[in-house]
Amino acid sequence: MLKFLLEKEFKQIFRNPFIPKLILAMPIIIMMVLPWAANQEIKNLKISVIDSDHSALSKRLANKITASGYFRLTDFSASFHNAMQSVDAGKSDIIIEIPFDFENSLFKSEIVSVMISANAVNGLKGGLGSAYLSSIINDFADELSAERGNHYQSSIIRSQFRFNPHLNYKAFIIPALFVMLLTLFTGFLPAFNIVAEKESGTTEQMNVTPVNKGIFIISKLIPYWIIGFVILSICMGIAALVYGLKPAGSLAAIYIYAIIYILVVSGLGIVISNYSSTMQQAMFVMFFFMMTVILLSGLFTPISSMPQWAQTITTINPLKYLMEVMRAIYLKGSGMHELLPQLFALCGFALIFNGWAVLSYKKSK
């Protein structure tokens, strides 16, 4: 029986004028564009410099800042008031104020303060911007000491960035995009498919046949399972070819987690479709649901930054687990034995959602 149902599903998918194109085109477009757009790398910050010293040293500091690549000079402001106007007008993101007598005080071995004022409306921008700026200033101080030929004891700190030494933001976002695409495709498509069958009346025709509802649902799951595979493979191919990003860990592990995950989201899609009678309803619910789930997955913002109640909610977010797994395998090369909690969680979700999908599918009212 399953054979015939599957045959039907595949024929329908291939005959659809839209879906096969979507399956091929959408991952490609998203993978080509999003890593560039979904980038929280902070660079080209607009800076206003207030140089009250006008000395060789203050000019040198200003040059060092603009040459760093993180900052783009907006203007030399005459006063803090003027600089603030630039910030208000959106022309500047950050202000650095080099005090009067900067050079003299430094040569007298006094400790000099340099004021940094960052527009922190975007906390990330303000925070990272000022961090970059202060590390440039520290470097500058070290540089001066070294030039003076002193027995300068360099700092005791050695920092090391593991797994992503060049702090490449794309490496962080790309594995997460895989997860997002898998979720969108294997969640939305089966939901719409089932609601469309409801609207056209074919579901009722199925319901008067002795077809087992478990088998009917499996026949809906398997095609999306394969679609998920195709999408994941396209994504990984593009990641390797375009961005040179290859998984540090095992490819098999990635597919195993993906298989289970697809079952989870497709199951969820079917549950939602079982409770919706029109396309519009299914769309709205799905849409709302996806928004929330994606935002609470750690895709853009770290889960550890969330308040406790939100962190608790994320424990029932399947997206979060695959996101963790994908990043861990791709960047860190973690093995499955190190990601067992996630494996159990995903298996649990798969059982719950698919069980629920079968139970909530009513052949009779």
Binding site: M1, K3, F4, L5, E7, K8, K11, Q12, R15, N16, S200, G201, T202, E204, Q205, M206, N207, V208, T209, P210, V211, K363, S364, K365
Partner: protein, 246 residues
């Protein structure tokens, strides 16, 4: 004669609304049973209960020897069903629809192939074998849907307004298919709005406001109501309805 359908005080309520009000009737093997009634009289609801699509609120019924409340899946193996709107897969070809439903009823591959060839020939559909169902004209779609519903040789076939929206000639041809099915021993349970079709039935029941008002052969009914045709009988009964027809 063998009874293939029998009901006992079969009732369906939706909230306070009694859609089907303890109806009782029997259908014998091999007959064409016309199930008439105005819109909203409750015939589709009753039919959905018999097919196992809807659970009765109270009362009971037997279809093909199985209980409609507890043995719905067994009933489904023994019946065919054709709904008011074309409910086959639009984006599957004619033969693919036949193959799908044959497969669902557990028919063997060879069996499906032979039967498909035979049906396409009977319908004169050989040329349309590879046509997508959505491209067929409505009358053809109805014939296809009927063929699908009896593809697995069920004991009973339920037809819910099978000929809506087509011209009298096409309807006539459709009824020829029904007669052919009956000759093979299939019991036909049909709802319709067309009173000329009611005349083709062996027996006819007419529902008014959720109850079966009359049940007899068309001939006896016409005599009892002193009417020239079934339409007249129907009009006389329908006027009694208190529910709003829409």
């Amino acid at each position: 004669m063998e009874k293939v359908i029998s009901t006992n005080k079969l009732t369906k309520k939706f909230g306070n609304f009694i859609a089907v009000d303890s109806i009782e009737f029997e259908v014998e093997k091999g007959e064409i049973f016309g199930f008439l009634g105005a819109n909203g009289a409750g015939k589709t609801t009753a039919m959905r209960m018999l097919c196992g699509l809807s659970r009765p609120t109270s009362g009971s019924g037997m279809v093909a020897g199985f209980d409609i409340a507890s043995q719905q899946e067994d009933i489904k193996k023994n019946i065919g069903y054709m709904s008011q709107k074309f409910a086959l897969y639009d984006d599957l070809k004619v033969w693919e629809n036949l193959r799908l439903f044959g497969g669902i009823y557990g028919m063997k591959k060879k069996e499906i192939e032979d039967k498909t060839a035979q049906i396409l020939q009977e319908l004169g559909f050989e040329k349309e074998r590879n046509t997508l169902a959505k491209l067929l004209p409505l009358g053809w779609k109805q014939k296809l849907a009927f063929s699908v519903s009896i593809f697995h040789e069920p004991k009973i076939v339920f037809l819910d307004e099978p000929t809506g929206g087509v011209d009298p000639v096409t309807r006539r041809r459709f009824w020829e298919l029904i007669y052919r099915a009956v000759q093979r021993g299939i019991t036909v349970f049909v709802t319709t709005h067309y009173m000329d079709e009611a005349e083709y039935c062996n027996r006819v029941s007419i529902m008014v406001d959720g109850k079966i008002e009359v049940l007899d052969t068309p001939k006896n009914l016409k005599a009892a109501f002193n009417a020239a045709n079934m339409d007249d009988v129907f009009q006389q009964l329908a006027r009694k309805a208190t529910r709003i027809n829409n």
